[in-house]
Amino acid sequence: MADRIIRGHVGIGPKVTGEALVANDNFSARYDLNRVEGVFSRPTHKLVGQNYVGKVLVLNIAKGGVATAWMLREMAARGMVPLALLLNFANPIMAQGAAFGDVPLIDRFEVDITGAIETGDQVTAEPGSGTVIVHR
């Protein structure tokens, strides 16, 4: 099967390739994660119990408070950070956290990104061009 290219808005951070972890749910580092153990911990989150470390996280929108702006850098420093974030809609907090932590982030895709990528897909994220390549 051919690779699929999905276009979004120009993002933040370096180009990376890795395995996707996908859910049609939202994202906040403070509300949703146990950042010590590297798993989703919010009981009502669709990814509860799943390890996010080193994964290309594909979720719907940024929700919650402002802590993620600091937290992504700290998570990166401890090696407990997602490899990249692909969201239908980021908010300023997610962008600020990605910029401060140098975590790749792309949003505003031409399609619902949570329906275009499946958990386990190999994905390349190129924030410089706002492009995602799904390797199949």
Partner: protein, 415 residues
């Protein structure tokens, strides 16, 4: 590309020192991400920076900035802080780990070196310097941002810690989002079919709307509000809406300054209204109803309590004793705490066995670790925001009115 003036170019080139250069680089990344055309000057910064959020990495960044000369490192606009993570006077009483206390002391020293006012409050719009209509700000707490935007008519995006810090050092933010007229128009309509009659009811109404928001850019418009809510009611409503929805602005027709009527905030015919009934509000409470009546801790915080709320807690606890199996915490700002001390409200609360915390807000205090240290699991609060946050921290949160929370704390179980 973001357009810069001469002074901004000079900051970017390092002519005003490395801290302002790093800040401009950060600002440009965000500006380009959101297609800002230029920057806007801000007159106030509200900086969120508890050590649970900054971690060691953020703390080291702040300390690194502090190594530059005073001329290079001092903030350019008045900058106040959100609650910190430790009330040093009460840390022992709630078993806060020593390593966090040490981090908090380092954080305070770093703030001081940058010329930041360590106000430790999320209700700065009630207690420090209320924003005014049209004022451009860099506010870094969802609750303070939504209140400033909606109730005051000021203009800010959510400026998380690193961006608020960059704004403080440069006096600038990218001009996008809620700094722009066109982003402040209403996008969805809600009609209140009941009058929320407690702070937690207002929080529940905010939660209902927040859950339904599909992105940061949606601006809910609320109609049907019969008579102006109080500042504390709007505080709880906004904090919950911002927390559940990541929403920085609402308009309440006939109440908030940009919405004297529906036509003033809607382009064209208004969208169909979603209704909020008393049953909807009741369902928010029931969504947090536990299977048994066990209770470990009652928390009044998020946002910090006003003087009026502190007095109400005091009057509800007067001549009563908190049950030995339950801890009651009430968090407020240093200014309000001093007023409570002077007016003997602190004494009224603490005589019951409850604890007044100053300059902190429960969920920003390494809540997971203090929960484990004190074996707190079942938590009750009248803050919809706090029950929304703490599920992910290993708590079983329960929403109740202030009266329900206190009656339960006295009984030692959820009544």
């Amino acid at each position: 590309m973001v357009r810069l003036n001469n002074e901004e170019h000079a900051m970017l080139a390092g002519e005003f020192g490395e801290p302002r250069k790093l800040s401009m680089e950060h600002i440009l990344k965000i500006g380009n991400f959101f297609d800002a055309e230029d920057l806007v000057e801000v007159s106030q910064v509200h900086l969120m920076a508890d050590t649970e959020s900054t971690g060691e990495a953020g703390l080291e960044y702040l300390e690194m900035l502090g190594t530059y000369t005073e001329e290079e490192r001092r903030v350019r606009v008045p900058t106040v802080t959100d609650p910190l993570g430790c009330d040093f006077a009460k840390a022992g009483q709630i078993n806060q780990p020593e390593e966090f206390i040490a981090q908090e002391r380092r954080l305070s020293a770093a703030f001081e070196s940058l010329g930041i006012l360590i106000t430790q409050t999320c209700i700065n719009y009630q207690t420090i310097l209320p924003p005014v209509m049209g004022e451009h700000l860099a506010y870094g707490d969802t609750g303070s941002s939504i209140y400033a935007n909606s109730v005051m008519g000021a203009r800010t995006n959510f400026q998380g810690g690193p961006s608020a810090l960059a704004a403080a050092l440069t006096g600038r933010v990218p001009r996008y989002g809620f700094h722009l007229d066109e982003r402040r128009r209403g996008t969805n309509l809600w009609e209140l079919r009941c009058r929320p009659d407690s702070l937690s009811d207002w929080g529940a109404a905010g939660a209902i709307i927040g859950r339904a928001q599909n992105s940061y850019w949606e601006v809910p418009v609320i109609t049907g509000v019969d008579g102006s809510p109080t500042s504390d009611e709007l505080k709880q409503f906004g904090a919950a809406l911002a927390s559940f929805g990541s929403t920085p602005l609402f308009h309440m027709v006939g109440v908030t300054p940009e919405a004297p009527n529906l036509a003033s905030v809607c382009d064209g015919p208004p969208p169909a209204a979603s209704l909020i009934t008393q049953a909807d509000i009741n369902s928010v409470y029931s969504s947090y109803r536990p299977g048994d009546d066990k209770l470990d801790v009652v928390v009044f915080a998020a946002p910090q309590l006003s003087l009026v709320e502190m007095q109400k807690v005091g009057l509800l606890l007067r001549d009563r004793s908190v049950h030995d199996d339950v801890t009651v915490l009430a968090a407020t700002s240093p200014e309000i705490k001093a007023a409570c001390d002077r007016m003997r409200i602190t004494e009224m609360i603490e005589t019951s066995g409850a604890i007044v915390l100053e300059g902190v807000c429960f969920y920003q205090m390494h809540a997971r670790e203090i929960g484990e240290a004190n074996s707190w699991r079942r938590l009750m609060s009248n803050s919809a925001k706090i029950v929304n946050i703490l599920g992910g921290y290993g708590y079983e949160p329960v929403l109740g009115t202030m009266e329900h929370c206190i009656d339960s704390a006295v009984a030692g179980r959820i009544v």
